[in-house]
């Protein structure tokens, strides 16, 4: 709590700085694309939020594993705290994608593999959060949601490939990858990296904040229980 309390303002401040600089740079200081016009700039919201949405689930998976193996209570709370942030990011990615898709593809929604996998990810997040909400006992809830998270991860990956099998897509392939080849002009690349870093830091800050809230809620409940016992 002490360490996270000291780090939290810095992380939040850094996130705000990255986002403000990245978004202003991205929105106002980059040129319009010669075919897409100004709509290309939605990439500065769409790509980072999608990235965080997927990695949020990974965070939940790792935290669930730590909870199941080491029974470390904070990790269960991290998994609980990450889910609402992750689902929000999923919704942002879907919405910005739809807003971009309407002028570019001529449709708000297409049953494209990537779009469909994201919708399925949204459903997974929804089920996970609903299970947390439904169970009263915190330890039981943590156990069951961890099991669900692991089984769900396997099925999410299966769905990803099933959906690829099911339809060939409209969405472009991955332009950003770790290999050396550059697919993107530097004018867009630098602000995009800044935005991605900003979204990652924002995710970290929100999860830290929510986890601290959960820890305090646990402490409060323990205090109330002790009071009632005495």
């Amino acid at each position: 709590m002490q360490v996270s309390g000291r780090f939290l303002p810095w992380v939040a401040g850094l996130a705000a700085l990255c986002l403000v600089v990245g978004l202003i740079w991205g929105f106002f200081l980059t040129p319009d694309d010669y075919r897409q016009g100004a709509t290309v700039k939605i990439i500065f919201l769409h790509v980072p939020s999608a990235l965080v949405a997927i990695n949020g689930w990974m965070v939940m998976l790792v935290a669930s594993l730590i909870w199941l193996i080491r029974r470390h209570h904070v990790s269960a709370l991290v998994a609980k705290a990450a889910a609402p942030v992750g689902i929000t990011m999923t919704v942002i990615a879907l919405m910005t994608g739809a807003i971009w898709g309407q002028p570019m593809w001529g449709t708000w929604w297409a049953w494209d593999p990537r779009l469909t996998s994201f919708l399925i990810l949204f459903m997974f997040y929804l089920g996970y959060i609903a299970l947390w909400q439904a169970i009263e006992d915190p330890d039981t809830a943590a156990d069951l949601t961890s099991v669900l998270c692991m089984v769900g991860s396997v099925f999410a990956i299966l769905s990803r490939y099933a959906v690829l099998f099911w339809n060939q897509g409209l969405h472009q392939g991955a332009s950003l990858s770790m290999d050396k080849q550059q697919h993107m002009s530097d004018t867009y690349w630098y602000p995009l990296v800044l935005c991605m870093a900003g979204f990652m830091l924002l995710f970290l800050a929100l999860v830290l904040l929510r986890t601290r809230t959960e820890v305090r809620r646990r402490r409060l409940q323990a205090l109330i229980l002790r009071e009632r016992m005495a």
Partner: protein, 218 residues
């Protein structure tokens, strides 16, 4: 284990509701879809395989919460957990019993309902085989969902929310196999992938379900 299987089968046949309900629901879905999309038979022929798969999936979903709920209410689930048998085996037997009373009848009924939806002639064997291979996965995954919510009072809606995303790959490959069969295309690839999902989840998911049950009955 065989005694448990027979007990589950007897209970589901005799206690009313569970056995015929899924079939009746399946029939209703197949009747309602043409009423909804209009009487054009060429359209029905095109969507028949998908509709039948969705109908089977929903009918399966309907009966899931009965897998553990009744046993949990009268306390026999606690006895089963303490019985000298691995809990994974009990869960697998439960899933098998669920498949025998819902998946198998649905598979047998699907070709009959295919007639209602004007399914092309060469689609029948593919529809039948894809359901035969795919419905066990539906039962096993559903058993996992039912094990997660066994202690909850009103778990029905939550159960569908939890289980539906898990059903996605099964539905895609199953409906794809049936659809390709109906269109006269080679359908072995989706069928093989469907079989892989069924076999994999039947082998691994009982462990997760047993774990969930242990947590719930702690």
């Amino acid at each position: 284990m065989i005694a448990l299987l027979l007990r589950d089968l007897r209970l589901s046949v005799r206690s009313g509701g569970g056995f015929g309900l899924g079939l009746a629901f399946f029939l209703l879905v197949t009747i309602l879809v043409p009423l909804g999309v209009g009487p054009e038979s060429a359209l029905h022929a095109r969507i028949a395989a998908g509709i039948l798969w969705i109908g089977a999936l929903l009918a399966c979903l309907l009966s899931l919460d009965r897998i553990f709920a009744l046993d949990h209410e009268d306390g026999s689930l606690d006895l089963l957990v303490t019985a000298p048998m691995p809990l994974e085996g009990i869960v697998a037997v439960k899933a098998l019993a669920h498949w025998l009373v819902t998946g198998l009848p649905l598979t047998l009924a699907a070709p009959l309902l295919g007639v209602l939806l004007n399914l092309p002639v060469h689609g029948y064997p593919w529809l039948f085989v894809s359901l035969l291979v795919g419905t066990p996965a539906l039962s096993v995954i559903g058993t996992f969902g039912a094990a997660l919510i066994v202690g909850l009072k009103r778990g029905g809606l939550l159960l569908s929310l939890l289980v539906l995303p898990l059903y996605v790959p099964t539905l895609i490959y199953g409906a794809e196999a049936a659809q390709r069969g109906a269109d006269g295309l080679p359908a072995l690839v989706p069928l093989a992938l469907l079989a892989a999902i069924s076999a994999g989840s039947a082998a691994l998911l009982p462990f997760a379900s047993a774990q969930a049950l242990r947590i719930n009955l702690r």
